[in-house]
Symmetry: C2
Subunit: 206 residues, 2 copies
DNA sequence: ATTCACACAACAACCGTTATGGATATGTAC
DNA sequence: GTACATATCCATAACGGTTGTTGTGTGAAT
């Protein structure tokens, strides 16, 4: 029984949620046409209507993951160092939603690494994320909260740290509860702050 | 044509290498009975003889990944801080072999995260790795190269950093060539060293 | 004679994809 | 407004291909 025009947008939202539920339940490796269809209470005929091919489904799922992650409620970022901290905290699996999102995210790496095109897409995505972080770092440096040094380099390091912490927290949630993750992040940030400026010798010369 | 008894161990080694080649070529998602069999120039009959079920193959592949990673030629570890640095460098995808190994490793996370049992296995594996790192950190602290502080906490942070760097380097090899990875790691270690001791106030009181 | 190490063949289940057809909405002619 | 052509939305069913698994048979080793 087809829907009316007014219901069409609602149906699109239903499809999104079905895709999300499948991803959350079985990861990216378990993302199949039929799984989404049955999760939707429909058949593959509907799915092929929205996604002519499997790759379309995968790309859509990747976009969905990106969108869902981006539209997650963010901390109200302050300025300088606290903005950096907030941005990094927002990545970590501190809530149930963030955990689900991160789990899907990590599980997508298998698919992404196997496909050069998707791999490039991911590389660009991470590069953009690093750029945003770099700007925050540069701002924290200008406010004097962070010692001098290539902001891009510091951002790359911070992103690595958070990324790795995500993975460890996903595999061992009891070992890395939210407060421990925040603790470790604060350790990292404290180390960054305490670092003597390498490029900028003013503090030494004065 | 069956083999003789003397060839049996050789055959087991052949199986290992076939599994490894399949993993290297198609990742963990492409690990199938038939793929390994054809890679071996044999049929599935042989495979089921060595691995009665798929799960056995997967578990074996996970173990193989662990073994191959562990038996990779390691840097001759010095003492104290240089030992910590060597251990962390050994994880990074700095060589072709290490890149292949790490790629397989990351691709296995999809499978592992979808299966609670495998997930636990990984958690234990990482915990053991953190423990070894913790001992190295503690040694570096005793030699005075690293400020005081919970060595387990420092090890967890360092492991996170390296893990995340691995992921980023795999997706953007041109952005993270070997020397840049080493650079970033050294930045991290420098920050660790420069950190004033939190628990131990001696330096301040003197 | 029994066990082992395989080849070979087949199975049911699942995958992505395609074709067919029917129900509903939309547009157009009168 | 009514009548008809067209397009959209979706169920149903089937296709060939691949998967994990099982069973049978056969030659060599013990």
């Amino acid at each position: 029984m087809p829907r009316t025009k007014g219901d069409h947008d609602a149906r699109r939202r239903d499809v999104s949620e079905a895709v999300w539920r499948v991803l959350a339940a079985h990861g990216f490796g378990g993302l199949t046409m039929r799984a989404v269809a049955t999760e939707l209470g429909a058949t593959t005929g509907l799915l092929t209507h929205y996604f002519p091919t499997k790759r379309d489904l995968v790309t859509y799922a990747l976009d969905l993951l990106d969108t869902r992650s981006a539209s997650r409620p963010r901390r109200t970022a302050g300025t300088g160092m606290s903005a950096v901290r907030a941005a990094l905290l927002d990545i970590l699996p501190l809530t149930g939603d963030a955990t689900v999102s991160n789990r899907i995210w990590v599980s997508s790496w298998d698919t992404a690494l196997a496909d050069p095109e998707l791999s490039d897409d991911y590389a660009r995505k991470y590069a953009r994320s690093r750029d945003k972080l770099r700007d925050l770092v540069a701002a924290a440096q200008e406010s004097g909260e962070l010692p001098a040094g290539d902001p891009a380099r510091i951002a790359a390091g911070a992103q690595s740290f958070v990324l790795g912490l995500v993975v460890q927290a996903l595999f061992a949630p009891e070992t890395f509860p939210p407060d421990r993750q925040a603790e470790l992040l604060d350790d990292y940030l404290a180390a960054l702050v305490s670092l003597p400026s390498p490029n900028d010798g003013r503090a030494v010369r004065t």
